[in-house]
Amino acid sequence: MLNKQIHYSNQQLQSWVDGLIYKGKTVIGPVKKNGVTCFSEIKNFNELILNERTVYSAKEVVLPKYDILFKFAKEKDKVFISKNENSLNNVIVIGLRPCDNEGFDYLRLFFKSDPDILQKLNTFISVTIACEKKFDGCFCEELGIDKNYSNKTDVLIKTSENGYDIYFNDRGNEILSPQASDVKPAEIKKPVPNVSIDNKVAYLKKLSEQYNSEKWKIVSMGCLGCGSCAFVCPTCTCFDVQDEGNTQNGQRLICWDACGMGLFTKHASGHNPRPSQVERRRHRIMHKFVYTQDTEGKISCVGCGRCIAACPAHLNIYNQALQILQ
């Protein structure tokens, strides 16, 4: 719960972040690599890009595009395995947005039965920056996410007259270690839950009635079946397991997979339960807005709009859902 509040000037914020790096913490934030904004470790404050929404989401920090689960080697007639320990302790992820935090919150629900990933999700310290304006394609408000408040973070930074108001909880306190003097109890206007969101979510649930409607054909016509929407989405968690190596030794890798691609649901027999893009697009929209309501109790789309920017045909998942429902 964000119970404390302090005020930093521009300069203070910069020296705070540089201080963290100096203290040996790994600070990961949005940087521009070769024209593409993504989350990666930074060496000093001005590498950070804080005024744009990143192309790739922060999910990359917890679930990298490919990760080594374990390595195995065979000597004589014994097989040896070495697990890959990469935990996220003293990692600080800065530059998150309220929608990213909602994404992480969903991931915590999704991976509640997977100790390794859950442990990763709970160890890193998140520093969120509230959004003043919506980036093009954002529709977090329509899904009930307040763009300038998030209580699912350790530190919340809001711009104010000459600097930043920083609200933090006790985990945030460790990394901020502010002087007691300028700490004030946080008076922050918690957003009042408005009822229209709940019936919006219920309204979205009606999508399952439209399951066999002809409109899916029209909606999915623009989808080419690539994986870019899944790979930029903060809440997409599908993965593929691959073994690489030779008869003596090798390693098992876990890497991203996307339901949009044709091979995703192809059975060894050749049968494909979702043979064309119509079924695949429908599955994606239903999964984001309907299926997770039953399994995780909340819709898994956080309205960040990254998938709209990354899609070759700029399909808007939310508008399409509404279009189906009319």
């Binding site: 195995f72 014994k78 070495s82 030794n249």
Partner: protein, 163 residues
């Protein structure tokens, strides 16, 4: 890099260069033993993917050799191969791959001496160039063993299974 022993593979066509290598053997000529020869029916059969797989399996250099133009047992295999290599070499050059490590030659069945020379020169050149470490850096998978903290997981007895 004197003590470095390059790992060299050779994709050769069965009718000319393989026979040429046989002739090098029958005339007891000596050449360095770093090379491993793989037999293909024709240079036309040598796929650019297999060349990439050779470097994927960690070789430092590769000899690709076949019949001289117009000598091909299948009349035109080497012509098609030649055109493919022009394009393949170009894409590797653009990508900055070290194409000096791929030696394209024609060795006929009668040129035993030339085969020995090709292998010796190739090993010489690779010793100068050293191991292909940039490429091996991205080959992270197989080459970083033995395991750091290994825990015995299970034992597998390989007793003969009567199928």
């Amino acid at each position: 890099m004197e003590d470095f022993e390059p790992k060299l593979a050779a994709f050769v066509c069965n009718w000319c260069t393989y026979a040429g290598a046989d002739l090098t053997g029958t005339s007891r000529m000596k050449y360095p033993s770093n090379v491993r020869i793989l037999r293909f029916p024709c240079t036309g059969r040598i796929d650019f993917m297999l060349v990439m797989k050779a470097f994927d399996s960690g070789v430092d250099g590769l000899i690709v050799s076949g019949c001289h133009p117009n000598d091909c047992h299948y009349t035109s295999g080497n012509f098609h191969a030649q055109r493919r290599w022009v394009v393949f070499k170009e894409v590797l050059d653009i990508m900055g791959f070290d194409t000096r490590r791929i030696f394209f030659t024609w060795v006929s069945a009668a040129e035993g001496a030339k085969w020995a020379k090709v292998v010796t020169d190739a090993v010489e050149e690779l010793k100068k160039l050293g191991p292909y470490s940039e490429f091996k850096k991205i080959l992270l998978k197989k080459l970083q063993f033995p395991l750091d903290n290994k825990t015995a997981d299970r034992e597998i007895k390989t007793e003969p299974v009567i199928s």
